[in-house]
Amino acid sequence: MSQAQASRAAGDSNPDRATRLKLYRTMLEVRLVEKRAYDLFMQNLIKGTSHLALGQEAIAAGFGVAMRRDDYTFCTYRGHAHTLVRGASMVGVLGELMGRECGLMAGKGGSMHLTSAEHGALGSYAIVGAHLPIAAGAAWSAQYRGTEQVAVCFFGDGATNIGAFHEALNLAAVWKLPVVFVCENNLYMEYTPIGAVTAVPHPAADRAAAYGLDSIIVDGNDVDAVYAVAMRTLARARAGEGPSLVEAKTYRHSGHSRADPGKYRPTPEVEAWMKRDPLPTYRHRLLELAIPDAELAAIEGDVRARVDAATEAARKSPPPPVELAFTQVWADGGFAWRN
């Protein structure tokens, strides 16, 4: 993790106590909601597929806490975390996964398309790489309107080899757009190690130079480090200095999706990364920083209770009315293609 350590720039200050507690709470909310999602799968209450980000929470939390409320995020089908950190409700997220009326999109999108526009969470994109140009477009809009909003775009390591990645990076750089591209490099695309199919060792950071950008690598399991990089890149974007490309090294605890037990990964590698689980390590750091265990325990109790309550509320929500399937193709609310 030498590059990660190196990424802590000299000017980066450590977050204050309140921010650190917020970072811990945010990571915990994501962790417990995703664990609950896993349990609900096991009970067959969630159908379809689902891509959990267990182990990757620090990246979403670090940026989520650092962002301004009116900023935009764009994320992938592994997007529960990024949607929650913007403030979307747990009921809305769990309800959407369960196909209930209370879901963020009332069951019309599902796990891979979580969106909460009112929170600036402008979509989870299930086609790898598609949202990078779209995030650039939102940044262009902010630039044009002069609002100093920033668009943050999360994507996996696999997206760095798709054309849209390069088209978006180039356009954002040429137009100096206020966008931060965040590559969550969890070392595997789906099943194949990213290193096996990429010409450079750091799939995002090593490409930054091609677009005149700094190479930024951060330890994606260290939420303080992520937070610091987020603050720095967001400020740069807001100041009109253009885009950034951040590569956050991380690791997912489970397989690619519900269907994948992740057996292709060597056990020592998995064990090493499990020891670097961002939640216990951060809790340990907070205790070292003299934050009382009871205070952390209270946060944990509160988050757990909120996840339980959200689960209950989502379970009680009815499935969406069938009529809903025939709405919102068009802005008039309907789907008519003829008169």
Partner: protein, 325 residues
């Protein structure tokens, strides 16, 4: 009224909407300084400035993706895809993202994007720069599809598309850019989803789109003078929404339907109209429906080869006479 070319009408329509609404922005390859490879967008950069009229790299995914992101956050972008054939390289953004975003988010997101593109054959450009691909768009739920045939329709329908809150694919026809027509000098706003009856007859109804409209009109003249066949000609103009009310009314009136389509045979828009007619006004049909299309081929380049495969006035007249009565 003044006479404008179809080409000039494009810039006029964009300018009309940009002058009206600050949220309208325009991006694409070679559209600003160069004024467009088909010279359709000259003068816009000078009038509206580089913030609103932006040249892009050759990055169709970035062009359409940027338009989508901008539309989601309050702008009304017009994106140009130089040749409609190139829609294939950004089809994910068009078909998977732009078209479905409102539906997937249950209405959280609005998508007022217009993608303008030069469509169709007749310029001897060969198989990758000549296609009529409006049917690609027609098949995707969530996309509106328009294809004007006259300068006035270019302005009116472009204005309607820009003002529409939903994504619109606006297919300009390359071989019509040089054609002329009368255009009112004041603001012109038409309506999406309205077909136009250009000529009323009693024997057969011809439904045509874009460059096939003038050919249908010419064929109708010859059918009348040479064969005593009286044809109605409907300019379909909008594939989605489709003005089935006008089409079915005009087909019922004559009892006979002929679609004249530039696209290759399979799954052309005419097949949908024939299918609707067969279902809904079957008992008003007085004979078999006829689809006149380009054969199911890629387009060749040489003059005589391209002319041989496109529906020409001669072929339209011949096929109608052969199946008539």
């Amino acid at each position: 009224m003044e006479e404008l070319t179809y080409r000039e009408a494009v810039a006029r329509g964009i300018a009309q909407e940009m002058a009206r609404d600050q949220s309208v922005v325009f991006l694409g390859e070679d559209i600003a300084s160069a004024g467009g490879v088909f010279k359709t967008t000259g003068g816009l950069l000078e009038r509206f400035g580089p913030k609103r009229v932006r040249d892009t790299p050759i990055s169709e995914q970035a062009i359409v993706g940027a338009a989508v992101g901008a539309a989601m956050t309050g702008l009304r972008p017009i994106a140009e895809i130089m040749f409609s054939d190139f829609l294939a390289v950004c089809w994910d953004i068009v078909a998977n993202e732009m078209a479905k975003m409102r539906y997937m988010t249950n209405g959280q997101v609005t998508m007022p994007v217009v993608i303008r593109t030069a469509n169709g054959a007749g310029s001897r450009f060969g198989a990758q720069h000549s296609q009529s691909v409006e049917n690609w768009a027609m098949m995707v739920p969530g996309l509106k599809v328009v294809a004007p045939s006259t300068p006035a329709d270019v302005i009116g329908l472009l204005a309607a598309a820009v003002r529409d809150p939903d994504p619109v694919l606006f297919f300009e026809h390359k071989s019509l850019y040089g054609t002329k027509g009368l255009v009112p000098e004041d603001t012109l706003v038409d309506q999406l989803g309205k077909a136009k009856v250009l000529r009323q007859g009693s024997d057969v109804t011809l439904a045509a789109l874009a460059a096939m409209v003038p050919r249908a009109l010419a064929a109708a003249e010859r059918l009348a003078s040479e064969h005593g066949v009286s044809a109605t000609v409907v300019d379909v103009r909008s594939l989605v929404p489709l003005d089935t009310a006008t089409l079915l009314r005009e087909i019922q009136h004559t009892g006979r339907l002929v679609t004249i389509e530039e696209n290759p045979r399979l799954c052309g828009w005419g097949a949908e109209i024939v299918s609707i007619a067969a279902h809904e006004i079957f008992y008003s049909l007085d004979g078999p429906a006829l689809r006149i299309t380009t054969p199911h081929l890629p387009l060749p380049s040489a003059d005589n080869l391209e002319d041989a495969v496109l529906p020409t006035v001669d072929r339209i007249v011949k096929e109608i006479v052969e199946t008539f009565d």
